[in-house]
Amino acid sequence: MSSFFLPAATLWQRELVRFWRQKSRVMGVVASPLVFWLVIGLGSNDLGRFYSGALVLTVMFSAIFSTITIIEDRREGFLLSMLVSPAPRTSLVLGKIMGSATLAWIQGIIFLAFAPLAGVSIHPMEILPVAGAIFLISFTLTGLGFVIAWKMNSTAGFHGIMNLLLLPMWMLSGSLFTMATAHGVIKAIMRVNPLTYSISLLNYTLHLPNADPGPVLSVTITAAMGLLLVLACGVLAAQKATKSAA
């Protein structure tokens, strides 16, 4: 039992210690969604409307940036010694995902500090469901980041992924416009976009408008997506390599 949880826990702790020692990272991740949000929100004179979108973007940046380190870590870095240790691959995957998800979560929580600007007031009793929702979203996006990073050989292709997959996914999640007013094709895409359910989940817990498609469906889909991605990570990491260093 300890040979499963100990490696996972140590990797989780490592992510936190590194994060703590590189505090400038926090600024980097929170700053761009914040500027984005202020520009679009103030420009359209509706900060509340874009608040959950900006929060999800913060979480997404954090999750993607910390999982993308896998690419280099595998060739040169700590991941190498993990791969030749007897610790089960699933335990390593779990540790890495939980660590990155925790960081994304912390940064999401930091972004909550701007909630009053959006006209959102969070009752102390509501902190828990909000924090829970942010964690769920962090977890799912970290899983997504991991699956992408594991399959990539270099960070060079990462910009393409960001621009062609992740940002469109975010734009079509209800972060910028609602499903109700969208064109039919866009509406269909939004319906199958798992991130749509993250936005609606946040809107629901923060009492913001556009909490469609409802809390139960949102939680279910976000959680199911997270589990699915983590399983995929486990399967990927367990594969035997015949080619690359990993």
Partner: protein, 302 residues
């Protein structure tokens, strides 16, 4: 302790290892010497369970690297050519994390960490961040890290690359001590001759094949006598003329003609007399592993 049997590995069409076999005995320091791209890294990746071979078999401590990688990992410590430390963590934190990956904790882990740091002379640097350490110290942390789970075999990939000669000698001393003190079997890859010379036995790898094997002494004495190196403008014609005149085979490399011969000093006098004005410089040395490599492959190691 290590058995490699008919190992072959291909990357697509490119053959990186071709039917390689050798054995390493317990307590040996065994070297894989060869140029970059000779197949050392491929072999290293297979032995360290990072990669599955196309054909053949490798056993470490009796366990098959392909079928039983978990057991192999328990018995093997791996030191990579590239850095595998977390630079944002201290020496101690790196070691502790590694111990946890091996399921070690508590008093046992503390003892092992103390011992490893002591063996590699790191005790007074334990609280330092890895990014603040010199290259030589980082290498020693890498080795300390690889020793925590008391492996029977230590695999080291180009461990002294990037180190200055002093740090390299220091590293060799630590490796030698490990073998003496702990009876660890060590397999290392290198393209540095002085390092290869300190191995008990070695194999020379070139283009994925073993071109020679034995102790450094055996390999060197496989070349009789001396090596004479002649520098000249037209190496090819000089080589031909030496063969006609003296009946000696020579090898041409990098603007020099190399001749292996007993009593090289006499040959030098004769060859200078025979072809006056054609030879620009003359050198004589006792055979090195480089000479063995040149003879077997016609190419240079470095």
């Amino acid at each position: 302790m290590i058995q490699v049997k008919n190992l072959t590995h291909r990357y697509g069409d490119r053959v990186a290892l071709s039917n390689v076999s050798f054995e390493v005995k317990k307590g040996e320091i065994f070297g894989l010497l060869g140029p970059n791209g000779g197949g050392k890294s491929t072999l290293f990746r297979i032995l360290s369970t990072m990669m599955v071979p196309t054909e053949g078999q490798a056993l470490i401590a009796g366990f098959d690297v392909e079928r039983n990688p978990g057991e192999v990992r328990r018995h093997v410590g791996v030191v990579f050519q590239t850095q595998s430390l977390d630079k944002a963590l201290t020496v101690e934190e790196n070691l502790r994390a590694q111990g946890h990956l091996h399921g070690l904790s508590g008093a046992i882990l503390r003892d092992r960490m103390e011992r490893a740091m002591e063996q590699l002379g790191l005790s007074d640097r334990r609280k330092d961040l890895v990014e603040a350490l010199s290259g030589g110290l980082r290498r020693r942390v890498e080795i300390a890290k690889a020793l925590l789970h008391k492996p029977q075999v230590l695999l080291m990939d180009e461990a002294s690359t990037g180190l200055d000669p002093a740090a390299r000698r220091e590293l060799s001393k630590h490796v030698e001590n490990l073998r003496e003190g702990e009876g660890v079997t060590i397999l290392l890859t290198t393209h540095i001759l002085s390092e290869a010379d300190r191995c008990d036995r070695l194999v020379l790898l070139h283009q994925g094949k073993i071109v020679a094997h034995g102790t450094p002494g055996q390999l060197r004495s496989s070349i009789g006598g001396d090596v004479v190196v002649l520098e000249t403008a037209d190496t090819k014609s000089l080589a031909e003329r030496i063969e006609q005149r003296f009946g000696l085979q020579s090898s041409v490399m990098d603007g020099t003609v190399r001749v292996e011969i007993q009593n090289g000093h006499r040959f030098i006098a004769e060859v200078m007399e025979a072809f006056p004005g054609t030879i620009e410089s003359v050198g004589l040395h006792k055979p090195t592993l480089e000479d063995v490599f040149v003879r077997e492959t016609g190419a240079s190691i470095e």
